[in-house]
């Protein structure tokens, strides 16, 4: 039986559409924390949204949600992973858009904005999964700049941004900037004391 973290949904009642939420998780609880964030947004707050997949391909994420009985057909997925795998984009799912590479950060932003322009939902979120995966491909300064732009773009448009990360593996500059930009923190991350 899959158990959601109910305290996350309680915390989400306190955020508004122009909030930006940093969600910290660990390696072992990443999907549980993601699902505990996504499910209330979709079901309790009846929001539409865009899920930016940089950690795993969109199909794998959709199947993980389906396995716990959650329908994500009204969520649009922007997949940054599958184009890097030969045959990865040969998928017949209408709610997946593929971007060539996680380094094309501006394209990710524009594609997300495009999806939101054609969205029927009045209340939307954008979720980045995850900062860690983007950090593999993007230089620290560029990623910090991007997240700054990304969060402010959606805050201005009253679209809730949710930024998922595993904190002890995020470049320090990016993490400290996230602490500064984000209005809320959901902390289910591992704390490693060196």
């Amino acid at each position: 039986m899959f158990e959601l973290d109910q305290r996350i949904s309680e915390q989400l009642t306190e955020v508004s559409l122009n909030s930006s939420v940093q969600v910290r998780c660990g390696n072992s609880n990443a999907f549980m924390v993601t699902a505990s964030t996504m499910i209330p947004l979709m079901q309790m707050f009846e929001m539409g949204g865009v899920y930016i997949c940089a950690t795993r391909g969109a199909v794998e994420i959709i199947e993980a949600f389906e396995a716990i009985g959650v329908d994500v057909s009204n969520i649009e997925f922007v997949d940054l992973v599958s184009s890097g795998i030969l045959g990865g984009t040969d998928v017949d799912r209408p709610n997946i858009t593929f971007i060539d590479s996680p380094i094309m950060l501006e394209s990710v932003l524009l594609r997300t904005l495009y999806i939101l322009r054609i969205s029927n939902s009045e209340r939307n979120f954008v979720l980045i999964d995850s900062v860690n995966a983007l950090a593999i491909y993007n230089e620290e300064r560029m990623l910090a700049e991007y997240l700054h732009t990304f969060i402010n773009t959606f805050r201005q448009r009253e679209v809730l941004s949710v930024i998922l990360n595993v904190p002890d593996q995020v470049p320090p500059m990016v993490l400290s900037n996230l602490d500064l930009y984000c209005t809320d923190l959901i902390d289910r991350g591992q704390v490693v004391i060196h």
Binding site: E106, L109, L110, E139, E145
Partner: protein
């Protein structure tokens, strides 16, 4: 104290997502703008959207195509949600094949002399005047100017054409094909187009770790203040979309470089 009156020229609102913001309200009315770009950078799409947005606002528009047949051009543009074939049927968008125009004018020849150039200008201006065109695109001025052998004649052609179209209140985009959009490149094939144009929009690619990102940059626009930053663009079914390019993603360093 009363604020000083600031003179502001009337604008041709492009309607392109983000473009009017970059231009602080649009292209100054009656300007001739050079849209210079490398192949596949989105020049024709940008220009077609400029016309379609004008047609949606009830303006008469014309597109002179010298690079691809009008049928092919329309087939390519039909995929965009903002385009409607009724715009053609109702005469708001008029597409002319330059080859057909050359035939009408008896200009089926390899190169043009002074009289030919004047005949061509007269034909374009007559069409603009007759239809009441307020938005015009010539795609491309590079292909057209290949037939004009002297640099002086090219200069005269573009200067006279621009002047006459401005008098008629027509805002014009001249598409220019360039092989490189690097910082030190010329923004035109013949080196004279950029000096004559009121505005220059450069389009090209930024290479980032083996991937090409399209960009657009307004280098010059007389009669308005404007952003001179590079903007990343995406060609979507809703038209061109722009966002400022990441500052750390477009620097000339080991990991990324300007241009294509």
């Amino acid at each position: 104290m009363q604020p000083a009156t600031v003179y502001s020229r009337d604008r041709c609102i492009t309607g392109i997502h983000g473009m009017d913001e970059i231009l602080r309200g649009g292209i100054p009315y009656g300007s001739t703008v050079l849209a210079a770009g490398t192949c596949g950078s989105g020049k024709t799409t940008l220009a077609m959207e400029f016309l379609v947005r004008g047609a949606l606002a009830g303006e008469a528009c014309a597109h002179f195509t010298a690079t691809e047949p009008s049928v092919k051009l329309l087939e390519n543009i039909r995929q965009y949600a903002f385009f409607d074939m009724n715009m053609i049927d109702s005469g708001l968008i008029n597409v002319f094949d330059m080859d057909v125009l050359y035939s009408w004018l008896g200009l089926d020849k390899a190169s043009f002399d002074l009289d030919d150039v004047h005949a061509l200008i007269k034909a374009i201006v007559d069409i603009v005047n007759t239809i009441g065109v307020t938005r015009l695109v010539i795609d491309s001025v590079t292909t057209l100017c290949y037939k004009i052998k002297s640099e002086q004649l090219i200069r005269d052609f573009l200067f006279t054409l621009g002047k006459k179209l401005a008098t008629l209140g027509c805002t014009t985009i001249l598409i220019s094909e360039i092989t490189s959009a690097t910082e030190n490149a010329h923004w035109s094939s013949f080196g004279v187009e950029e000096a004559i144009a009121d505005g220059i929009i450069v389009m090209g690619d930024v290479e980032r770790m083996g991937h090409l990102l399209r960009f657009l940059q307004v280098v010059k626009m007389r009669g308005t203040s404007h952003s001179r930053a590079k903007h990343a663009i995406e060609l979507t079914p809703l038209g061109v979309m722009l966002t400022p390019m990441l500052k750390w993603g477009a620097v000339n360093d080991k990991t990324s470089r300007w241009g294509s």
